[in-house]
């Protein structure tokens, strides 16, 4: 079955969506990602959607859900590289993904995650692990 690979980079998980998402694929990704966050105790998730050209309300909502789920599992989510057309579509659909952090590209997303991670370390004392 088709799956979207989840790469582990240090404390972070990297998901690059390079095919057009259909609903089943999205659900699989949601399952896999929550599993991986739990097993790897990742601090952050970076989802790169720069190759994604088409979104619908389901995929939009799924992105929001993934972010919310990761937060419950104590990992921050950053969505990076959204195309202008996709951003406009999501806004027109009324999905402005309020809980999701965004960045222009992977590099900026990574530094955002690291910044957030450092902040939380001070707050929650997760640094000891």
């Amino acid at each position: 079955m088709e799956r979207i690979p989840i790469l582990k980079m240090g404390d972070y998980l990297l998901v690059t969506i390079q095919v057009d998402m259909h609903d089943r694929l999205a659900m699989t990704l949601q399952d896999d990602l929550t599993d991986r966050i739990a097993t790897t105790r990742a601090r952050g998730v970076l989802i790169d959607i720069s190759s994604l050209e088409i979104v619908d309300s389901f995929i939009g909502r799924m992105l929001g859900n993934i972010a919310a789920m990761s937060r419950v599992l104590d990992a921050e989510t950053v969505v990076v590289g959204m195309r202008p057309a996709v951003a406009i579509t999501l806004v027109e659909l009324g999905l402005s993904l309020p809980g999701v952090r965004t960045a222009l590209n992977v590099e900026k997303g990574m530094s955002l995650l690291q910044g957030v991670g450092a902040e939380q370390e001070n707050l929650n004392g997760r640094g000891e692990r």
Partner: protein, 290 residues
């Protein structure tokens, strides 16, 4: 129909083409509608010569003169529409453009009168045919002129839309979008697209939307602004709205528009200062050691 098909006009005008052309051009050059300021005489001569030539060809291919939509007239119609389009661009008025065709009437009628001097019945018939054809061609010219003008208007509208939404780079990573004029849905779409495109191109993290030039803000405009801000945020850029006049601040609050999630500043300078701080840049006065 039988009578019309027997019209001798095609044969006659092709025989007397050069005389007719000379008369027609003289007619046009002396007419009050001549616009020597807009068009050179040589161009007019060339246009007249070509039109007459095409007309003669079309008339000889299709002896029933009254149907100018027939395929035989294709070239003539094409030429006429290109003439009227170019005149529309040059600034001719519709009647001046249509006169190009209508002015052919007088020399043509003179020719007919000369030809059918002893046969008033035939003269009247031929006159009617000629009038019908030239009227149709004239109306066609006016229509084409109108179309040309509409194209000009459309293009200007498009240009205005693009001109009125410039996205400027204030600093590395800082964009500004000075909005001038009323924001409607169509314009918001263009604004949003050009802003987002520029964000992708420049990789800017902060965009300042300056609404100093927006005369009124109603709920719809506010909604459009918020949409733009939300779309930019989805791409990973923060937006600051600046240039909010006191009057507009009051309106926004009275309308119950929620702008709390957006950074708002009263002037572009304030917004720029915030943007610089975000980008970890400072502006310092140069110490004067003199």
């Amino acid at each position: 129909m039988n009578q019309k098909s027997k019209s001798r006009i095609p044969e006659m005008i092709s025989k007397r083409e050069s005389d007719l052309l000379a008369d027609w051009i003289r007619e046009q050059l002396t007419a009050t509608t001549l616009r020597s300021d807009l068009m050179k005489e040589s161009e007019l001569r060339e246009q007249s010569r070509r039109f007459l030539g095409l007309m003669i060809r079309a008339a000889s291919e299709q002896p029933a003169l009254n149907d100018i939509n027939a395929p035989a007239w294709d070239e003539t119609r094409e030429f006429l529409s290109s003439v009227s389009r170019s005149r529309a661009h040059q600034g001719f008025s519709p009647s001046e453009t249509a006169t190009f065709v209508f002015s052919l009437k007088q020399p043509l009628f003179a020719l007919l009168r000369h030809e059918f001097e002893g046969d008033p019945k035939k003269l009247a018939d031929e006159m009617w045919i000629a009038t019908e054809v030239l009227d149709k061609l004239g109306l066609f010219t006016t229509e084409a002129y109108q179309k040309g003008r509409e194209e000009v208007i459309m293009r200007q509208q498009q240009e205005l839309l693009e001109l009125s939404t410039p996205v400027v780079v204030l600093w590395e990573g800082i964009l500004a979008l000075p909005l001038i004029g009323t924001l409607d849905s169509a314009r918001t779409q263009v604004v949003m697209e050009s802003l987002l495109q520029k964000i992708v191109e420049t990789g800017a993290g902060i965009a300042i939307i300056d609404i100093t030039g927006v005369p009124t803000v109603d709920t719809l405009v506010a909604q459009h602004l918020l949409k733009t801000v939300a779309a930019a945020r989805l791409m990973g850029a923060d937006c600051i709205i600046s240039g909010i006049r006191p009057q507009i601040a009051q309106t926004i609050v009275h309308l119950g528009v929620n702008l709390t999630d957006v950074i708002t500043k009263s002037t572009l300078a304030d917004a720029f200062a915030v943007a610089l701080r975000r980008a970890k840049l400072t502006v310092a006065r140069v110490e004067n050691h003199g």
